[in-house]
């Protein structure tokens, strides 16, 4: 029997699992998908918010500000890209300037440091590609950008290094209460655990309802994004918001940690938790919005579009609590924005709740907070590059032409704990296929490397999920030649 089972390996679940790995506990992290971070964590705005959005006194406000503070250290320990580039909430008329003022005041109440209200001139000085129509903005210097799935993958890897076990492709089908805990049916496995932490994101209501009465409902909300080529990555320097309206924080224009430009999201209630499709209307509306905010932008530079589903709930604030009906069953639900920012603080908060349930948890003396950094060959100096190739010739072979990713880097991300097993898994960790050609040239080579390293047939290499096969078999000609 495990002490604790964390259901859901998104940003919240991996932060909690890693936090739990500091203690002498047996911890299992399970997910229904074929990789870490394959739900909402892989498709969101990647923003670490300053904390002026949520109303004073809410969990969202508290955990946002605390989470923001914690980002620097954890990203340093795990070697995950994080840049504190600041954010602007831009106003385009007098009324919006009033909103900016309100946000500023709310930020002060929430304890957000380093904010100021900028006039038109100062905004344009900071962001000279913004439309001249801008009249002012709220500038929050503590806002930042991060690689969300890279962070979740790094957290999972570090948690595994510290003794957490991982079980992928194991959708939870049923949970039964047993004498001193729970029996979980996950995939074809039966797992017993004293404590369950439900971080199932979009499906957290389904998981809750397996044990408890339906106290909340997840309302999936679709957000569509356009990702642009690096050639326009520097069109903005900060995270540029429009003034929030009832529909949410609106479409955001921001650079990514890798130097691309990301524009989105739309906000649309959808009925299905699997509505991961982009729509013509959505992608068009992003473009229209952008035209009003920026002086100019060429949509020729879009390299891909994607959809993420936010796990919203009616009551709006995060639900982070032990179920009143089931001792040892903790819900961490309704984690929509600023969930990514709050995640490290959510983990802290959850640990405190767990400590009330299991007394005298002992700290693990040999907990190692550090993760071996990913190798980014192109960021090395020429001398270091030459040395590395001499040591391991696989670093001399470029597989991804657009992003200049070497075979050595790809092998490294496959061989790590919680390592890549699929084409998209490699892409999320080492970035081959993230460039202009979107894997057109490198996909066959990456698949060959995955097959070789995992000792599987190339036809068994999936794009992402367990059934996302890429090849359907050998050609007639190949069979004849054999």
């Amino acid at each position: 029997m495990y002490d604790i089972t964390v259901i859901g390996a998104g940003i919240t679940g991996t932060f909690i699992a890693r936090e739990l790995s500091r203690y002498q506990l047996s911890v299992l992290l399970i997910d229904k998908e074929n990789d870490i971070a394959n739900g909402t964590t892989k498709a969101n705005s990647a923003i670490v918010h300053a904390g002026y959005d949520a109303a004073e006194g809410t969990l969202k406000a508290k955990l946002n500000v605390r989470g923001n503070e914690l980002y620097e250290e954890v990203c340093k320990e795990l070697h995950v890209p994080f840049k504190r580039i600041g954010s602007l909430v831009t106003a385009f008329n007098k009324q919006e300037m009033e909103t900016v003022q309100e946000l500023f005041e709310r930020g002060i109440k929430n304890g957000v440091p380093q904010m100021e209200i900028l006039d038109k001139e100062s905004v344009l000085k900071l962001e000279n590609n913004l439309s001249e129509e801008v009249v002012g903005a709220l500038y929050a210097k503590t806002a930042g950008i991060v690689g969300p799935w890279e962070l979740a993958i790094a957290l999972a890897e570090n948690a595994l290094e510290n003794g957490v076990e991982l079980l992928l492709n194991s959708p939870v089908k049923d949970i039964d209460k047993i004498t001193d805990g729970y029996s979980i049916t996950a995939g074809d496995r039966k797992i017993e655990s004293k404590i369950i932490i439900n971080c199932a994101g979009l499906h957290s209501d389904d998981i809750n309802n397996m044990v408890n009465s339906a106290s909340f409902e997840i309302l999936p909300n679709r957000g569509e994004y356009n990702l642009f080529d690096k050639s326009v990555g520097n069109i903005v320097n900060t995270v540029v918001f429009r003034c929030p309206s009832e529909a949410g924080k609106g479409v955001v224009i921001m650079p990514t940690v890798h130097g691309n430009l990301l524009i989105g999201p739309t906000s649309e209630h959808v009925d299905s938790k699997t509505s991961f499709d982009t729509t013509l209307e959505g992608l068009t509306s992003i473009n229209e919005h952008t035209q009003h905010t920026l002086k100019q932008i060429s949509f020729q530079n879009v390299i891909t579009s994607f959809t993420g589903l936010r796990a919203k709930i009616r009551t709006q604030d995060f639900i982070i609590e032990e179920s009143k009906e089931s001792l040892g069953f903790f819900n961490v639900a309704g984690i929509d924005s600023p969930g990514l920012t709050a995640a490290p603080a959510i983990a802290e908060y959850v640990i405190e709740l767990v400590k009330r349930r299991i007394e005298n948890i002992e700290i693990k003396q040999d907990f190692n907070p550090y993760r071996r950094p990913n190798i980014h060959f192109m960021e090395l100096s020429d001398v270091e590059k030459a040395k590395l190739i001499e040591k391991d010739p696989r670093f001399g072979r470029i597989i991804c032409r657009c992003e200049h990713i070497t075979e050595g880097e790809i092998v490294d991300v496959i061989k790590r704990k919680a390592g890549a097993r699929t084409l998209d898994g490699v892409k999320r960790r080492a970035r081959p296929g993230s460039g202009r050609c979107q894997g057109g040239f490198c996909a066959p080579r990456v698949m060959e490397i995955i097959a070789r390293e995992l000792e599987i047939d190339i036809t068994e290499v999936m794009k992402d999920s367990l059934d996302s096969y890429i090849l359907t078999g050998k050609t007639k000609q190949y069979q004849q030649n054999k």
Binding site: L280, V302, F306, G396, H404, R436, C437, A443, I470
Partner: protein
């Protein structure tokens, strides 16, 4: 630091022809840098025939065509490095490259010939809505899987785009037992060669839907269905014209883009229509001593024209090294207008050694019974009759430079004009 007279970046048909021609013109120290595991470039995956009709007067497959050049290169003893990536080219013709055996390579060249070819436009670039399952891939990637790796990529297939690779793959996949359900083309005409429409679609009864595009992709793990719809004259899908195909694969053949990241690193000026370097009749770019040829300059339909163009780049680089290219000549700009999208070369230097120049161009629509007219200063320099021109097929016109020196204009236009009855 390594020193070469000429470094050719790219060992596809363009790079091979340029290197061979430079050697024939007396240049000894030549290096070809190729990022793939073999020479020949994309030709190696083009196992269909139809290559070499103009140059060799015979029908060859892609690998056969490539092999002729590879053999000649090897016989001549021209050096080449495989599995080697050029990372940067400077204005001073310093090249940084890398591979597994040499590590980091720093090469100083007297002249550089860039011949990196092109890449395919992707789903993201044309923003097709829908889910993002496995089974959406570009025609060229599919071609590599099928012809080089020996694996099939699907069973029921819809193709968007009627560019040549898409058409060729429609036939190839049908021969491999797949069911190609439809080819949809956004434009009211095909972007491919007429012979490919006939031999790859019509002969196999594969329907071609002109003025259609993909409006939705369905499927979570793997493509399950693709919906196409007719578009209006502004390319907007028309409601009510949707056709849904149950299928497992969507192939994209939606255009090729010259691959000029290295050219940008060298500060080479690019042309806004072709996406490739602006070149003069020597195939020299805006950076002195850096020449360009093949699909990196503009996308060709026939490899034979790539070879011709690349030979010119190779011999010009040789001339340059020998100091035989005159400097400070008067430069004339060439432009397409009224139906002609672009003209390569983009500039002609009135060098006393050049007598004729071949102009290559593409039109912007299908035209029947027209003339292609070359004009300078309002005066017609040359005109050629054409019964039928289409954007999918490159047009060439040879002009006599001696006629130019007479005029005072520094611009030449090529345009489509109606053939008078």
């Amino acid at each position: 630091m390594l020193y070469y007279d000429i470094v050719v970046i790219g060992g596809g048909p363009a790079g091979l022809a340029a290197a061979i021609e430079a050697r024939k013109n007396g240049i000894e120290k030549i290096l070809v840098i190729e990022r793939d595991r073999e020479l020949g470039g994309i030709l190696q995956q083009c196992i269909h025939n139809g290559f070499g009709l103009h140059i060799f007067k015979e029908e060859l497959t892609g690998p056969e065509y490539a092999e002729k050049f590879i053999e000649e290169l090897i016989t001549m003893g021209i050096e080449y490095k495989l599995d080697t990536m050029a990372l940067e080219v400077t204005k001073d013709r310093m090249i940084t490259a890398m591979n597994s055996t040499d590590g980091m390579l720093y090469i100083q060249a007297k002249a550089v010939i860039i011949a990196m070819g092109c890449r395919e436009r992707t789903r993201g670039a044309i923003r097709i809505p829908g889910t993002r399952p496995a089974g959406v891939l570009t025609a060229g990637t599919a071609q590599r899987f099928v012809n080089i790796e020996g694996y099939m990529i699907g069973k029921r297939i819809v193709i968007l785009g009627s560019g040549d690779i898409g058409l060729i793959m429609a036939r190839r996949l049908t021969l491999e037992g797949a069911n190609v359900l439809a080819v949809a083309e956004l434009m009211p005409y095909s972007g491919g060669l007429t012979r490919n429409i006939v031999q790859c679609l019509e002969d196999f009864n594969i329907p071609l839907y002109l003025s259609h595009t993909v409006v939705n992709i369905e499927g979570h793990d793997r493509v399950e269905a693709v919906t196409i719809a007719q578009v209006d004259e502004r390319f907007k899908p028309i409601k009510g014209t949707e056709k849904k195909f149950e299928c497992d694969t969507l192939l994209l053949s939606v255009g090729l883009i010259p691959e000029n990241e290295l050219s940008k690193s060298a500060g080479i000026e690019l042309h806004n229509v072709t996406g490739g370097p602006i070149v003069n009749e020597f195939m020299e770019t805006s950076v002195e001593g850096v020449f360009a040829c093949g699909n990196v300059v503009h996308v060709h339909d026939l490899v034979d024209w790539v070879t011709e163009e690349s030979k010119r780049a190779g011999s010009s680089a040789a001339k340059y090294i020998k100091g035989q290219i005159e400097s400070n000549c008067k430069t004339i700009r060439l432009k397409g207008r009224n139906g002609v999208r672009y003209v390569v070369p983009h500039q002609i230097r009135l060098d006393s050694t050049t007598q004729t120049v071949e102009l290559m161009m593409r039109v912007d629509n299908i035209y029947k019974d027209i003339k292609l007219v070359v004009k300078s200063n309002g005066e017609v320099i040359k005109e050629v009759k054409r019964n039928h021109v289409t954007p999918g097929e490159m047009e060439t016109i040879k002009i006599d430079l001696s006629k130019l020196t007479l005029g005072y204009s520094d611009e030449i236009y090529v345009e489509v004009a109606k053939e008078e009855a």
